[in-house]
């Protein structure tokens, strides 16, 4: 990781380009801009950015295709930006390997939060296993396979633990039902997304303070789940 993170923005509309550039540069990062899908892939190869922001509604091609082409050779985090009402597009992009998404219109805050999570994951991947996860009174120590709520140990079923483990490894990022299903149950049952819902429901009952108003495991309707970002130690 370089001292100043570099961000590649693949976006065709000048006002959005301007907004994204000023925001990201204002937070001390270096920005490259590509206006087309083709240019975006070339720039990604040349600049080796730390994070890619990709608008799915590009004029010259399918954003999904860009995700697939980048993923063929790069593990750089990709955050896709989709228009409201195009839920299927973003879920497809996530399943194809994008790391997170934003729905237009979004606020500066949301964008920065996503970029922060992406950069942190990149750093974690470089450093090996992360430290212990802590959020809202919950502690998950993956090395010791230990889960605690307010200091008391919680017993999870193997499925619940595997789901939580996967979420902790990707804390702050959205995980689609399909991704969780593939990780926990393997690649043969990818349409049975309700398995995930049932077990997440059980998991919440154990880890959340108020399972009716979950804070740690947030639902993103039609997409999947997002584990709360860990509190900084």
């Amino acid at each position: 990781m370089t001292a100043t993170p570099t961000i590649l923005i693949i976006e065709d509309e000048p006002p959005m380009q301007y907004f994204l550039r000023s925001l990201v540069e204002g937070h001390g990062m270096k920005v490259f801009i590509a206006a087309t899908a083709k240019e975006g892939v070339t720039e990604a190869a040349m600049r080796a950015p730390d994070v890619v922001l990709l608008d799915l509604g590009l004029p010259d091609g399918d954003g999904l295709e860009v995700v697939e082409r980048l993923r063929a050779w790069s593990a750089t985090p990709i955050i896709v930006i989709s228009a409201r009402g195009r839920d299927r597009d973003k879920v497809e992009a996530l399943d194809a390997g994008a790391d997170d998404y934003l729905t237009k219109p979004f606020s500066a805050e949301e964008l920065l939060a996503r970029v922060r999570v992406a950069l942190r994951h990149r750093a974690l991947r470089a450093a090996g296993d992360g430290p212990v996860y802590r959020a809202d009174g919950l502690t998950v120590d993956l090395a010791r396979r230990l889960v605690e709520r307010d200091g008391a140990e919680i017993t999870l079923t193997p499925t619940e633990y595997r789901i939580l483990e996967y979420m902790v490894q990707h804390a702050g990022r959205v995980l689609t039902h399909t991704q969780i299903l593939r990780t926990v149950w393997g690649p043969n049952l990818l349409t049975r997304t309700h398995y995930v819902r049932v077990h997440v429901h059980q998991l919440r009952a154990k880890v959340e303070r108020d399972p009716n108003q979950p804070r740690i495991i947030r639902t993103e309707p039609g997409v999947g789940y997002r584990l709360m970002e860990p509190e900084s130690p």
Partner: protein, 904 residues
């Protein structure tokens, strides 16, 4: 049959009706829809009759709480109704009471009514039947949509299915039908002023059934059906009075065409006359039983086809006396004028018996006969057919072995019998035996066999019974006459017999075709889609043509084969011809005049000038004597198919334009309604942004930030408005295809609460305790939107100190989500109006679309929404969604799934 006698079948029908007719007479007050004033008109008539001293009583009259009806009951004797033993069953017509009372006339309202269970008859019209049978006159009221035969038409026109129907024979039996006519505008006005329904019902009725379009259509149906009834009565009257004279009520023109090229001109002349007189016309070709060739048939058929194109109805008949058949048909179709062509040449038969024109003139005493002179030179165009071709059909060709055998056998039997009888019988008896033999042979077999038998019998008689015996020598010249007469008898009998046979065969064929056509029409009228029509048509044509048949309908990009029976020849030529037919709307292929190189014959299924479907079949060989009839039948079927498809297309067009108009209306209301709502946040954003841009403005510290917060929050509001508008248009247009997943409604409610807490500024919302978790098949994004809209609605309306409670629970096959607030509440009985588009609450700054979207989303899921007052103040908004989704799959159990999917 002599033309001056009425058709016996029709007479019989009239007699049967008379015998069955009860002494009572039925009078029907017919209306296009409820509320046109049938009951009022009936009661007015009753009061008049009573004033005239007639014994009128009211059997049953429904006032529906209408004052104008109630007032008219005064002064009339109202018979008590028959109360049921059961409390929950409404009282019905007291049949026995009325029969015992024996009034002259009884009023029985609402003929289509279904009686309460336990009544004597299931339907009220059966009660009426019994009253009529008992000799009591019945006056009743009926709406046109209740007539059985119009049931499907009404359903298709108005989209409302009527279940209570009255069979047509009841209607047809009516002695008098009085149409109570009211323009749709007047009727709607009556509805609005609450004269038909109580006011709250009226609004619903107007939205559903009482649309102007529906009312116009129903009114037209009522008037048309009544007019038809009058026409039938006229026919009936004529039959009963056995009046052979033609009634000139509706003029009609009949033109007789034949194979002569002159006929084409004749058809055009007839068409011009018909048009100038503005009367319908009819073209007929009469195919003589014992003459004519395939070529003749073909040409005659072409002339009929021409007539059809010019707007005539067409018929082809087989008859042995052309004049009689022509005049008979003229009487059947009520023709007031017959158009004939002058003969192109006079034959010896004309000199002997008078020409066809003379015969027609003689028989058609009271029908005008119009003779169109031929044009010089036209006659040459008709080549005489070689004799052999004509003779073939009559069996005069070379005798076949079967004829010879038949002749030999009968001659031998006659000889044997005569020989065995020996001297017991006289010579004249022997001759009679031979005559019998010749007659039998001629009757059973063809003409050749008859003649052969005559020759054989003459020879046998000569050989065995004339002096000198056992020689062919005749010494008495008187016997020569015997031989000649025997031959004559044989020829005559066989000619007569073969005519009779052909005639009978023609009648049977015709009857079968009529029957078949009738069945086809019925089948076609049951079809709901063009594809079904195509399938029924292909099947039928296959049976008729006896060969492969296929129907194509327009598709993308080319014709689409919809139905085929057998294997149609398929190569480039056939495809081109079919496509040509579709494009040009003209028949083509084998047996037509266009693109004759094809093996199949193709007919268009849409009017010329429009690209439509095509029907194709391999035509039957033209040589058989019934070819003309068969071809005519084929064309009739094609025409029928075309008409059915046309009607469907028109209906579909009407439906599309109705939907388009409705969508257009919603869209324009939507636009006008939201443009205001969109401008308010835009104005704030523009104002705040320009203030910030203004370098001269000296802003108090903090104002800068405040303005930016405003811009941000108004932009957010704008986004929500736009979301609502877009959602509504998408849901309204029916383009929403929910992506259904097995979801936990609990989880979706949780997400919705999270979203609204962020928007609503930390308002406390808590989820009420509930039972076990539920799985339901639904679209998570749509249902989240629904719950968010409920919550926002509650946040806006309820006082900020009070909690808003959300509950999720199972209710039978449904999962229910309820949002309860402590706001101003909702009306007790009619909260459904809240879910209408553009209905806004007092406190809301919204578009009035939020709850309408909720209802639309529930509908997409096969569920429903409601709003009810909450005990202790406030309102509860709820939605029930079927757990298995809109297609009702078996619901999954949470616990079961949990257990089965635990990994090790």
């Amino acid at each position: 049959m002599p033309a001056d006698r009425p058709d016996p079948d029709r007479l019989l029908a009239a007699v049967a009706r008379d015998a069955a007719r009860p002494a009572g007479k039925l009078k029907i007050f017919l209306g296009a829809a409820a509320g046109v004033g049938k009951t009022v008109a009936m009661l007015d008539a009753a009061r008049e009759a009573r004033a005239a001293g007639r014994d009128v009583v009211v059997g049953i009259v429904e006032t529906h709480g209408r004052h104008e009806t109630q007032a008219r009951l005064a002064g009339l004797e109202v018979l008590p109704r028959r109360a049921s033993e059961r409390v929950d069953v409404p009282p019905e017509l007291d049949l026995d009471g009325i029969i015992a009372r024996r009034p002259e006339i009884v009023l029985v309202d609402e003929l289509a009514h279904t009686n309460a269970p336990g009544s004597r008859h299931a339907k009220r019209w059966q009660d009426v039947d019994e009253l009529l049978e008992a000799g009591i006159d019945v006056w009743t009221a009926l709406n046109i949509q209740h007539l059985e035969s119009l049931n499907d038409v009404v359903a298709r026109l108005t989209g409302v299915e009527v279940h209570e129907t009255v069979p047509d024979h009841v209607f047809d039996r009516a002695h008098a039908v009085e149409v109570i006519d009211l323009t749709p505008q007047d009727l709607l006005a009556r509805l609005e002023t609450g004269k038909v329904y109580a006011p709250d019902q009226a609004r619903r009725a107007m939205a559903g059934f009482f649309r102007v379009g529906n009312l116009i259509a129903l009114r037209q149906l009522a008037l048309r059906r009544a007019a038809m009834r009058v026409g039938e009565q006229l026919d009936e009257h004529r039959d009963r009075e056995a009046l052979p004279e033609v009634w000139a009520a509706a003029e009609h023109l009949l033109v007789a065409v034949g194979p002569s090229p002159h006929s084409a001109r004749l058809v055009r002349v007839a068409s011009r006359i018909a048009r100038s007189l503005d009367v319908p016309w009819h073209a007929v070709t009469i195919h003589p039983v014992h003459a004519g060739t395939a070529g003749d048939s073909q040409r005659a058929l072409e002339h009929l086809r021409l007539a059809e194109q010019l707007g005539a109805e067409t018929t082809s008949l087989t008859a042995d006396n052309v004049a009689t058949a022509l005049v008979g048909l003229a009487r059947r179709v009520n023709a007031t004028m017959i158009v004939l062509g002058a003969p192109t040449r006079r034959s010896w038969r004309d000199a002997l018996r008078g020409s066809l024109i003379d015969e027609v003139l003689r028989e058609a005493a009271d029908i005008d006969v119009h003779v169109v002179p031929s044009q010089a030179g036209a006659a040459q165009a008709a080549p005489r057919q070689p004799m052999a071709a004509q003779d073939e059909s009559r069996g005069l060709a070379v005798p076949r072995a079967r004829d010879l055998a038949a002749a030999l056998v009968t001659a031998s039997i006659a000889t044997g019998v005569a020989g065995a009888a020996g001297d017991l019988i006289s010579e004249s008896d022997v001759i009679m035996l031979y005559v019998a033999a010749v007659t039998v042979t001629a009757f059973r077999a063809r003409l050749a066999a008859g003649l052969l038998s005559a020759v054989l019998c003459s020879l046998a008689f000569n050989f065995f019974f004339t002096q000198p015996r056992f020689t062919l020598y005749v010494d008495d010249s008187r016997y020569w006459l015997t031989f000649v007469l025997l031959g004559g008898v044989g020829a005559l009998v066989s000619v007569l017999a073969s005519r009779l046979r052909e005639h009978a065969a023609a009648v049977v064929r015709r009857e079968a075709q009529t029957e078949d056509l009738f069945r086809l029409t019925r089948q076609l009228s049951r079809c709901a889609t063009p594809d079904e029509v195509a399938r029924v048509g292909a099947d039928y044509l296959h049976r008729l043509a006896g060969g492969p048949t296929a129907v194509w309908l327009p598709g993308e990009p080319d014709l689409r084969l919809v139905a085929s029976v057998g294997t149609m020849p398929e190569d480039e030529v056939e495809r081109v011809v079919a496509r040509w037919t579709s494009l040009h709307g003209v028949s083509a292929g084998a047996g037509t005049q266009t693109l004759v190189g094809a093996k199949g014959q193709y007919h268009p299924l849409a009017p010329p000038g429009t690209t439509g479907g095509v029907v194709g079949f391999v035509p039957p060989p033209a040589a058989s004597p019934s070819a003309l009839e068969r071809r005519h039948a084929l064309e009739t079927v094609v025409t029928l198919l075309r008409e059915f498809l046309d009607r469907m297309r028109l209906e579909a067009d009407a439906e599309t334009s109705r939907v388009t108009a409705e969508t257009e209306r919603v869209r324009s209301t939507l636009l006008s309604s939201v443009s205001h709502d969109l401008r308010t946040p835009l104005a704030t954003i523009t104002g705040a942004a320009t203030t910030l841009l203004d370098e001269q403005a000296s802003l108090v510290p903090g104002t800068r930030r405040e303005l930016l917060v405003r811009i941000s929050s108004e932009a957010h509001r704008l986004e929500r408005l736009l979301d609502n508008v877009l959602n509504m248009t998408r849901l309204d247009s029916g383009r929403v295809d929910p992506s259904l997943e097995w979801e936990l409604p609990d989880e979706i409610v949780g997400a919705a609460i999270a979203r609204v807490s962020a928007m609503g500024g930390g308002r406390l919302i808590r989820t009420a305790a509930h039972g076990r978790p539920v799985l339901a098949r639904l679209d998570p994004v749509l249902v989240e939107q629904l719950v968010v809209n409920f919550l926002e609605n509650a946040v806006v309306h309820a006082p900020s100190a009070e909690p808003i409670e959300v509950a999720v629970y199972e209710d039978g096959q449904d999962v229910v989500i309820e949002v309860a607030d402590r706001g101003p509440g909702v009306p007790e009985n009619d909260a459904t109006a809240l879910f209408e588009k553009f209905v806004r609450g007092k406190a809301s700054g919204g578009t009035g679309l939020g709850l309408a979207i909720c209802r639309a989303i529930a509908t997409v899921h096969g569920g429903r929404v409601w709003a009810r007052p909450r005990p202790g103040g406030g309102a509860v908004f709820g939605v029930a969604l079927p757990k298995g989704g809109p297609d009702g799959q078996r619901a999954l159990e949470f616990a079961e799934v949990l257990e089965q999917t635990e990994t090790r």
